[in-house]
């Protein structure tokens, strides 16, 4: 029987339906009151008279896949019923958003395109809770985002107009890593992969700083510096190979090679400071991150020092570590916590001096 026949026979069963078409071409019917809960669909129906039949199905934005549409309609179907209590609605919402992060993102995007603000609020609140307090690396993992900056771009040296020894240390690390990158690209062996994974924690450190500098004006200058440095590199390759041949834990591996290269980085450090572009800026909010991360990192390095010395000597390296330790320790001023000091003063202030007792 056709739809029309059914309407004649059982008029009381005839509900209004709206036709919706998703980007993949599939068309479906949805109860009108449910679909109308979405402002975008509502607009299409009322302003443009669309959706009343299959041929005039409302084309939904590309971001609304059939799966997302189904979720959105579930949401609408529940909430468009007027009689529900706030408690019921809240309870439904809490259960509704229990889904994996990828879905949450797609749902946010889809709901946004349909202008369904309550659902956008719900999903974005959930996403905000997920993101809160996470590092950029963690965020990339959670949302399955590739590390879009090339390794090279991430290793641009920082400007160091104040001659901050911490930044000097970082720039040295970058120089060393740039060299390593070059070696990796030349050699391409399995150990390279493993070492890369291990150095993720240092990459965190670097990405903190470099995320901002990627767009800054100083990039051009830094690229020139990089070329200079590369020319000085070749003789390092053999010593790094030795270090990599070591079969101890991976952290040991990377640290050994770092220490060896630090000596050479001191050679370059004058170059870095001279080339500095004064117009560069670091996001000041990141400086605190830098403080902490450098401390952690340098502490990590310093703690392994006795074993490293042994290794270096046994591998026939005779470079003295003097420079590194001086700079390494000198740069580690503890980030003072001023909070307690200020609050102390506060409490003094609030004791009224005119107290009768």
């Amino acid at each position: 029987m056709s739809e029309v026949d059914m309407a004649v026979i059982k008029p009381e069963m005839m509900k209004s339906y709206i036709w919706l078409q998703t980007a993949d071409g599939s068309i479906q019917q949805v109860e009108q009151e449910v679909a109308m809960f979405c402002p975008m669909i509502c607009h299409e129906i009322i302003q443009k008279g669309m959706g009343s039949s299959k041929n005039y199905a409302i084309s939904l934005p590309q971001r609304v896949s059939p799966a997302m549409l189904s979720l959105i309609l579930d949401y609408c179907r529940f909430h468009q019923v007027p009689g529900r209590s706030n408690k019921e609605r809240k309870s439904f919402d809490e259960k509704f958003i229990r889904m994996d992060t990828k879905r949450l993102c797609e749902l946010t995007s889809a709901a946004d395109s349909l202008q369904l603000k309550p659902l956008v609020d719900l999903t974005s609140r959930a996403l905000a809770r997920i993101i809160e307090g996470k590092t950029p690396e963690e965020i990339r993992e959670i949302f399955h985002l590739p590390d879009d900056l090339t390794e090279e771009e991430k290793l641009e040296p920082l400007k160091n107009t104040t001659d901050d020894p911490r930044i000097r240390l970082l720039n040295r690390l970058y120089a060393k890593k740039r060299k390593e990158l070059k070696e990796r690209q030349k050699q391409k062996n399995i150990e390279v992969e493993e070492e890369r994974v291990d150095e993720r924690s240092v990459d965190d450190l670097l990405s903190f700083i470099n995320g901002e500098n990627a767009d800054s004006k100083g990039v051009a200058t830094s690229k020139n510096k990089k070329k200079n440095r590369r020319r000085k590199d070749p003789q390092k390759s053999t010593s790094i190979d030795h270090a990599r041949g070591d079969n101890e834990s991976h952290s040991t591996l990377s640290e050994t090679s770092k220490l060896q290269d630090v000596e050479d980085d001191i050679f370059y450090h004058k170059v870095e400071l001279d080339d500095v572009d004064i117009d560069d800026e670091i996001d000041p909010a990141l400086k605190e991150e830098i403080d902490r991360e450098v401390e952690d990192f340098a502490r990590r390095l310093n703690s392994d020092w006795p074993e490293r010395m042994q290794e270096l000597l046994s591998l026939g390296q005779e470079k003295s570590p003097v420079h590194f330790s001086i700079n390494g320790n000198g740069s580690l001023r503890k980030h003072q916590s001023m909070c307690s000091v200020s609050l102390l003063h506060l409490s003094d202030e609030f004791i009224p001096s005119f107290l009768p007792f």
């Binding site: 946010t108 995007s109 905000a128 879009d148 001023m338």
Partner: protein, 360 residues
């Protein structure tokens, strides 16, 4: 618990999909979510990918607040941040208890960032003790649309600084001078003459003030809703009486007003919209004053009678008959004249009480 494996499987193959995801979907979603994130997390997001960076940086409504509370080198950080284009639509700068903020930093703001700060509405310099009148001159000259200004606990600010404020910023509605001990009646005159629409004023510990100065404020700033006179013991009824001139007053802090008498309090009771009244250490008050308040201020939610020995159970009875529906905070510690003031007895009189101690 999230099902990450499922998500990975659904990702499907094809660089195409991955690119869509990281270059379009995620940046769009992060723009939406960004509005709910604190500065710290927003900056972390910027570092996640260039696509997110681009999407967020251009969305100026995410970058309306610079928060350097308790940070060190805050003056330098502020200058560095302001050189980033995304902070050129700032509405608020918060330097509360930040270290290393000096006049010269504010002067740099005036010379370098004059244009970019013109829409600033809220400035918090609480605890920035190195700032002097000079710094105030500098910052107010480039932030003329300032509405909320707070410079708590700064003894270098004088009437000169306040003069700069009133000359440059004509739209102040909320002013916090708590602890600015060197501010005198002259400043009160300047404020009274220039801010008839002031809604909130905090004069805690501005000990140089006298009745003369306070009266100026009370006579001309008739839209005041919040007035804080904590730890100001030199005022007398002469000024207190004039508080009745503030019909919109909701929050009044008179902690330490040792000269306030029942007569003055009875005048204050004419502010019928009072919601919060702090009479801690107002040692001359008796039942008479409190009863006047009970009868006049029927929306009272917060009342402290801490340390007043002249009040008895009588005033609590009247208070109960007038304000038991609204009162949620009542501090009668040290009120030895009140015999029945155990927690249960108080709850009997005021069923909605949830806080029994204000002053410590």
């Amino acid at each position: 618990m999230r099902i990450e494996e499922k998500a990975v499987a659904e990702m499907g193959d094809g660089e195409q999909q991955k690119m869509m995801w990281s270059r379009e979907t995620i940046p769009r979603v992060m723009k939406i979510v960004g509005a709910r994130l604190h500065q710290r997390d927003l900056v972390s997001l910027l570092l996640v990918s260039p696509w997110i960076h681009r999407a967020l940086v251009s969305y100026s409504s995410l970058w309306l607040v610079l928060d350097f509370r308790e940070k060190n080198k805050a003056g330098e950080r502020l200058i560095a941040a302001l050189s980033l284009p995304r902070y050129h639509h700032l509405k608020e700068i918060n330097l509360e208890f930040a270290q290393d903020v000096e006049d010269r930093h504010l002067e740099v703001l005036r010379t370098e960032f004059h244009g970019t700060l013109q829409n600033l509405e809220r400035l918090n310099l609480n605890g920035c003790q190195k700032i002097s009148d000079k710094g105030i001159e500098a910052i107010t000259s480039c932030c003329r649309k300032l509405k909320i200004f707070s410079i708590y606990w700064n003894v270098r600010v004088t009437d000169v600084g306040i003069n700069h404020l009133v000359e440059n910023c004509k739209h102040i509605s909320d002013l916090n001078l708590s602890g600015c001990k060197n501010v005198s009646d002259k400043s009160m005159q300047l404020i009274a003459n220039n801010y008839p629409e002031l809604t909130s004023l905090n004069l805690t510990r501005c000990i140089k003030l006298t009745d003369v100065g306070l009266q100026q404020i009370l006579l001309k700033c008739s839209l005041l809703q919040t007035l804080n006179l904590y730890a100001l013991s030199s005022f007398t009824d002469k000024a207190y009486r004039t508080i009745s001139n503030l019909p919109h007053l909701r929050f009044l802090d008179l902690c330490g007003s040792q000269h306030l008498s029942d007569e003055g309090l009875t005048c204050i009771a004419k502010c019928k919209d009072l919601v919060s009244l702090n009479l801690t250490w107002c040692v001359r008050i008796t039942d008479v004053g409190v009863i006047a308040v009970a009868k006049g201020c029927r929306s009272l939610e917060f009342l402290s009678l801490f340390g007043i020995i002249g009040v008895t159970d009588k005033c609590l009875e009247v208070l109960s008959s007038c304000c038991s529906n609204t009162l949620t905070t009542l501090d009668v510690n040290g009120c030895i004249g009140i015999k029945r003031r155990s927690r249960d007895e108080l709850l009997g009189l005021f069923p909605y009480l949830n806080c029994f101690k204000v002053h410590s």
